[in-house]
Symmetry: C2
Subunit: 322 residues, 2 copies
């Protein structure tokens, strides 16, 4: 059954795609099985992170990018990880119409991720959904994140190219500088560039960027996502960045870092799952948790006792986790 | 040496407190040892989460709350987890002066957390810092978070009382509703209540809250953090909520949930640390990661092989992590 589903995903069938993504998101065993079978078919798509605060218009920008990519005959996946994204919740009427336009194109696949629910692992889950879209043959996968919080920075870091979206006049520019979001930017965009203050913000960002002293100059581009102004130039800059990644060997390095991240995240989950299964029957967890809540035991000692009672975990040793 | 440091923390010495928090934040073995010794002294402080978007003025509100709590002879810890918080990065001159006023009071301890760096665990690290401040005798610990992203929601969930901060005229209100942030609110605040649209927002929030049908009505309060208007009423509402938690038995329930969360997070970290130590010498991790980056192996199988090569983990079994 999973094999048939995987074949349908590889053939680009939308319903199978949606189905497999749900299985993956919910952590179903069939989802992992599907991913295992799909994985050899990954590694082709260009993953592009779009990061910016809630008012920056990055959903509209993602839509505009998708349309421009389609104009260039490329298929597109969009993964929205921002809980306040209009992709996630629907929004103003204008946005809805623009979105319907997007979702009626069979070569665009839009998915919003639930950012709450299962403990941890949203960055890992996002990477898995991107892998499914990659295997399904999408040429580009756009990942929309809000860019505040460590998870979101990790998600953005998973993209090969990260576009940080700023807007004039919100004070967000200064906050982006402070929060260190610029450090993850491969391309800077001033969206809503028809609004007052856009040129000032462009100059500010250029000044910051030129201080970096990296071998590659980070481009600062102006866009008006609602009208499409500057979007073709942004796609050109994204393509240019991928060329740079390939030629400089950084793509290889990025893939190793991503693989390491994924393997460790999955190992961590698997290890805990094994301990919980092993201690399911003896009631150890509830007992230890009760003692911690009562302050009879500290959480570190409780964690260690839980591991010992499940059979010691791998390696053993008395040193605490770091 | 750790014992001496712990004694100084229990005596309320600021430098020892700062030192122990750094050890904890950096995941040093001495930090865990200190926490183990401090843990029996925790469970007294009232932890209060302040959640809202970057423009909501929640840092100023935290400062105003701290001053009002001091007026009531209570000692205060403030933990800022928002990377764009003025507590973290300094900000406008007015804020700086207000902050210096705060930090010159020996009974107020202010700390901002680094939200990037070590993989995962910011919610867990925040809970640990709160525990240190609790053991050091702080009556209240205010936790400032940006309220977007799963980590931030988890951090807010760690507080006994969660205050969600809204501001009129930013459209943030609607986003809060959409993002489900209201679900975690024990108290709703409309800050900057002297600005246009404040009453509309209050009515909107009251309408939403009254639909909830919970046994406890969620209060909607107006504040002007810069002038101090409404702050005494907010402290009253926070105290009232704690009384409610105690009397309804929910405090007990909350502590069990928190303890469970902490024990599982620490077990997960410890288990991975053990696997990494066990595979440190044989180069297994690098080999597996390389194979995944090359698409010769999928990350799930790699994670499982890593665990097996370290001695199988606890319990074993072929079922994947969920």
């Amino acid at each position: 059954m999973v094999e048939a589903l995987v074949q349908q995903v590889l053939a680009g069938e939308r319903r199978a795609l949606a189905r497999v993504i749900s299985l993956v998101e919910n952590g179903e065993p069939e989802g992992y099985e599907a991913l295992r079978l799909l994985y050899p078919h990954t590694g082709r798509a260009h993953s592009v992170g779009l990061t910016g605060s809630s008012g920056s218009g990055k959903s509209t920008l993602a839509g505009a990018l998708a349309r421009e990519l389609r104009r260039r005959q490329r298929s597109v996946g969009i993964v929205a990880v921002d809980p306040s994204s209009p992709f996630t919740h629907g929004a103003l009427l204008g946005d809805r119409i623009r979105m319907q336009e997007l979702t009626s194109d069979p070569e665009i696949f839009l998915r919003s991720m639930a950012t709450r629910g299962s403990l941890g692992g949203i960055a890992s889950a996002t990477a898995q959904v991107v892998a499914v879209l990659d295997a399904a043959g999408k040429d580009a996968v756009l990942i929309e994140t809000v860019g505040a919080g460590q998870d979101e920075v990790e998600i953005a870091g998973a993209a090969e190219t990260t576009v940080v979206v700023n807007t004039p006049g919100t004070g967000d520019d200064v906050q982006a500088l402070k929060a260190g979001i610029l450090e993850i930017a491969d391309i800077l965009v001033v969206n809503k560039a028809d609004q007052p203050g856009a040129d000032t913000l462009v100059h500010l960002l250029q000044a910051v960027v030129s201080r970096g002293g990296d071998e590659r100059a980070i481009p600062v581009l102006k866009t008006v996502a609602t009208s499409g102004d500057g979007i073709a130039e942004l796609v050109d800059a994204i393509d240019e960045h991928r060329r740079y990644l390939r030629e400089s060997g950084q793509l290889e390095w990025h893939r190793l870092a991503q693989a390491r991240h994924q393997v460790l995240a999955l190992a961590r989950h698997e290890l805990l799952a094994r301990v919980l299964r092993a201690t399911e029957e003896n009631g150890q967890l509830d007992e230890l948790v009760g003692a911690v809540a009562q302050r009879d035991l500290d959480p570190y000692s409780a964690a260690r006792r839980l591991i010992e009672s499940a059979g010691g975990g791998a390696g053993g040793g008395a040193r605490p986790a770091r």
